[in-house]
């Protein structure tokens, strides 16, 4: 053929040469404490945040627990272990006064959001989303608060909740993810700087999607945010978390903890779009994303986790459901994209304790470049969880021949009346599919975007409408320049 063929290697080269689009730093004065972790640092953090004594005690206990723990190494990922004495544990943007409205926001901050494509005012106006922004650990703006307050809904930063609603925080914090749960949850409990808190009162339906954008800004600052979300009996809430970190050469540690509590008949929908900096194409830099997310479902309650993971150098994350109540439902929908030298070990745990509890797992992995993606999932059905059901589907889509995809499903069933189904597929984007699209006038890059979107449809459909569009764009950005 006269035309030069673009070989698969060249295509991969193009995929891998797509630079991270969110790499920029905002020039804001930060109020930072020295590097390293000690009891004193924990005390300083607690003091800076003007926390009550019980909170300080909680942190100190967690810190002491952490000292005795070892960093886990069972995940299918390889990375240099962070030096925990070389990390700054607290950084807050200096704010002169509390903001009354988003218009008072620091112009630099605002610019950052604009680059991210999140115009708060636009979001306020168009989508009716209440946004609680965590910028380097301290909430700088909270919107729609008064409207939510009318319904008795509390949506604020966790620091504020510790001051304003200590009874709720004290009652629930650490009940789903105890500090001693794992190395990273202990670290988080000791040093978390901020995060979100949400309480939906009995019988109310949160009228809008609640959304938080997290961003790591200060070089070398770990982001240890903490989220606590309580849906009281018969309530409903949909929550979206989106993350982006600017480009840095050192690896940044991100060890968040999210706890969800769904009381009887309550429903929580928790969606994540994760786009932390993945490192450059040689694997330099990037975020270590070691997150513990877990929810508990009481009677007839339902928790749905939906995640679109395209970022981070290393991801270690298993949003889980403890199906404690009878007839409770847990769902997990995931798209995990790895490219270049990214590594992801992600999946879920469904712990069935209640009778007639049901869980669904749909996990879609997309691996390109020299990346490694693993699905790790546990379906555990206890003796008492009679007539429980699980359906799991784990699919992998490979691009090129230098990436790896792995599946580690663990299934434990302790009674005979329950049913567990597991389906798995591995496929490659076929040259015949691309040629078919080409023949209809669809260029190769658009064809790949189309095929990938089709592949992820079951998961993307779970996202709230306005974010589904964003997620689709993200997938395209992640695989952009893949072919030309």
């Amino acid at each position: 053929m006269k035309k030069e063929e673009l070989s698969e290697d060249e295509l991969l080269e193009k995929v891998t040469s797509t630079e991270y689009k969110y790499g920029f730093t905002t020039n804001i004065d930060s109020d930072t404490i020295p590097k390293g972790l000690s009891e004193d640092v924990v005390r300083i953090i607690s003091k800076k945040k003007e926390e009550p004594n019980w909170m300080l005690e909680y942190r100190l206990k967690a810190y002491r627990t952490w000292l005795e723990m070892k960093e886990p190494d069972w995940a299918n990922v390889n990375y240099p272990k962070p030096n925990y004495q070389d990390i700054i544990y607290y950084s807050a943007p200096k704010q002169k006064k509390k903001l009354d409205s988003l218009d008072d926001l620091d112009p630099e901050l605002k610019k950052t959001f604009d680059k991210l494509g999140i115009s708060l005012n636009e979001q306020k106006r168009l989508s009716g989303v209440a946004v609680d922004i965590v910028m380097d650990s301290v909430s700088v703006a909270t919107s729609f608060k008064s409207k939510l307050a009318d319904l008795g809904i509390i949506f604020c930063s966790i620091s504020e909740a510790i001051k304003e609603h200590p009874e709720l925080v004290q009652k629930y914090l650490g009940t789903v993810v105890p500090a001693r749960d794992n190395f990273f949850s202990a670290l988080n409990a000791a040093v978390f700087s901020d995060g979100s808190f949400c309480y939906i009162p009995k019988g109310s339906r949160c009228p809008m999607e609640l959304s938080t954008y997290f961003r790591i800004n200060e070089a070398g600052t770990g982001q240890f945010e903490r989220t606590l979300l309580i849906a009281d009996e018969g309530s409903y809430v949909s929550y979206l978390e989106g993350c982006t970190a600017p480009q840095r050469d050192e690896n940044q540690l991100h060890a968040a903890v999210v706890e969800l509590i769904a009381m009887d008949n309550a429903e929580i929908k928790y969606s994540t779009v994760q786009t932390w900096y993945p490192g450059n194409k040689d694997g330099v830099g990037g975020v270590f994303n070691f997150v513990t997310k877990r929810g508990i479902c009481h009677k007839k309650a339902k928790i749905s986790w939906t995640q679109v993971e395209t970022g981070s150098a290393v991801t270690w994350k298993y949003p889980s459901c403890i199906l404690k109540g009878d007839h409770s439902i847990g769902e997990f929908f995931s798209v995990a994209v790895t490219n270049n030298l990214q590594q992801a070990d992600t999946g879920t745990k469904m712990i069935h304790l209640g009778k007639n509890s049901k869980s669904t797992i749909i996990a879609k992995g997309i691996c390109a470049g020299k990346s490694n993606g693993s699905y790790r999932g546990l379906v555990q059905i206890s003796k008492g969880a009679k007539n429980s059901r699980n359906f799991s589907q784990c699919d992998s889509l490979l691009m090129g021949d230098s990436c790896g995809s792995h599946t580690f499903p663990y299934i434990e069933v302790k009674n005979s009346s329950s049913q567990v189904e597991h389906e798995a597929t591995t496929s490659k984007i076929g040259e015949d599919q691309i040629f078919y699209c080409n023949q209809r006038g669809i260029g190769t890059e658009e064809a790949i975007a189309l095929i990938v979107n089709g592949y992820c449809k079951d998961v993307l459909n779970q996202l709230p409408m306005e974010f589904a569009v964003e997620a689709q764009k993200l997938l395209e950005i992640s695989l952009e320049g893949s072919v030309g």
């Binding site: 053929m1 035309k3 599919q433 023949q439 209809r440 260029g443 089709g454």
Partner: protein, 254 residues
């Protein structure tokens, strides 16, 4: 419109096309017939730009362009359409979304904005009627779970939507029952006009009862060994291919 000269193509070191010459003008219907393995599908794939095949010599002029200089999607934008013998599945993408993407890309090249959703939908409905498509078809995923007949009808539906200058129907009749065949042929006939051309590739004469060709070419061992009018198809139906292929084999070797 289309002028193929001395086209040779190789796959895995084996020469499949050994010097094809073919001219197609606007308003014409050409049938290419031949036994299995004669190179019919290779010819259509090479015209469309499938990179599995390496073109070792020759040219494919389409209007003023040599198609061999263009990518497959560029060829499509110029108006080349291939109805695939084995259409592929694209899971999760609905027929309507797929066609929307195809039309949007083509319009982009022409410097046009995407077609308004209303116009697009209206056009889809019109073409669905033409091909007796069932309601709900547009929201099914591309070829996923389609029967053989549905896949072929889906190809012709796309052709109707994209309105190509040159349509190549590769074994469109295979997998169709007689009723579906009539519907498809009727659709193709209605889409014919003096500005476009059709190449029908088929093994059997059956389809040619419904899509009547102006010219019939017999392909054997990578060469067109005989060309004629539509009566040639009938002769082949009666006598089989042997009487021509034997002569050809004596000339070029088998």
């Amino acid at each position: 419109m289309l002028k193929i000269e001395n086209l040779k193509a190789v796959v895995d070191g084996v020469e499949i096309l050994k010097g094809i010459n073919l001219s197609v003008n606007s308003g014409e219907v050409h049938a290419i017939m031949g036994p299995n393995g004669s190179g019919k599908s290779t010819l259509s794939s090479v015209i469309a730009g499938d990179e599995t095949y390496e073109v070792s010599s020759g040219s494919i002029l389409f209007d003023d362009d040599d198609l061999l200089d263009l990518d497959p999607d560029q060829r499509a934008h110029k108006g080349v359409f291939l109805s695939f013998q084995y259409p592929v599945e694209i899971p999760g993408i609905s027929v309507s979304n797929f066609i929307k993407a195809a039309i949007t890309e083509k319009r982009k090249v022409l410097g046009l904005d995407p077609m308004p959703a209303k116009d697009l939908l209206w056009k889809m409905r019109e073409k669905m009627d033409l091909l007796n498509m069932k309601p709900g078809y547009l929201s099914r995923n591309m070829n996923e779970g389609f029967s053989g007949g549905e896949k072929k009808r889906n190809e012709i539906f796309q052709m109707a939507m994209l309105e190509p200058k040159l349509a190549i129907l590769d074994e469109t009749d295979s997998g169709l029952d007689i009723d579906a065949l009539k519907v498809v042929a009727n659709g193709v006939n209605k889409l014919k006009n003096s500005n476009n051309a059709t190449i029908v590739i088929t093994h059997y004469q059956r389809l040619l009862d419904y899509i009547v060709p102006d010219y019939v070419h017999v392909l054997h061992n990578g060469r067109i060994i005989k060309s004629g009018g539509k009566e040639l198809a009938h002769q082949l139906e009666e006598k089989g291919y042997d009487w021509i292929t034997k002569l050809a084999d004596e000339k070029w070797g088998s």
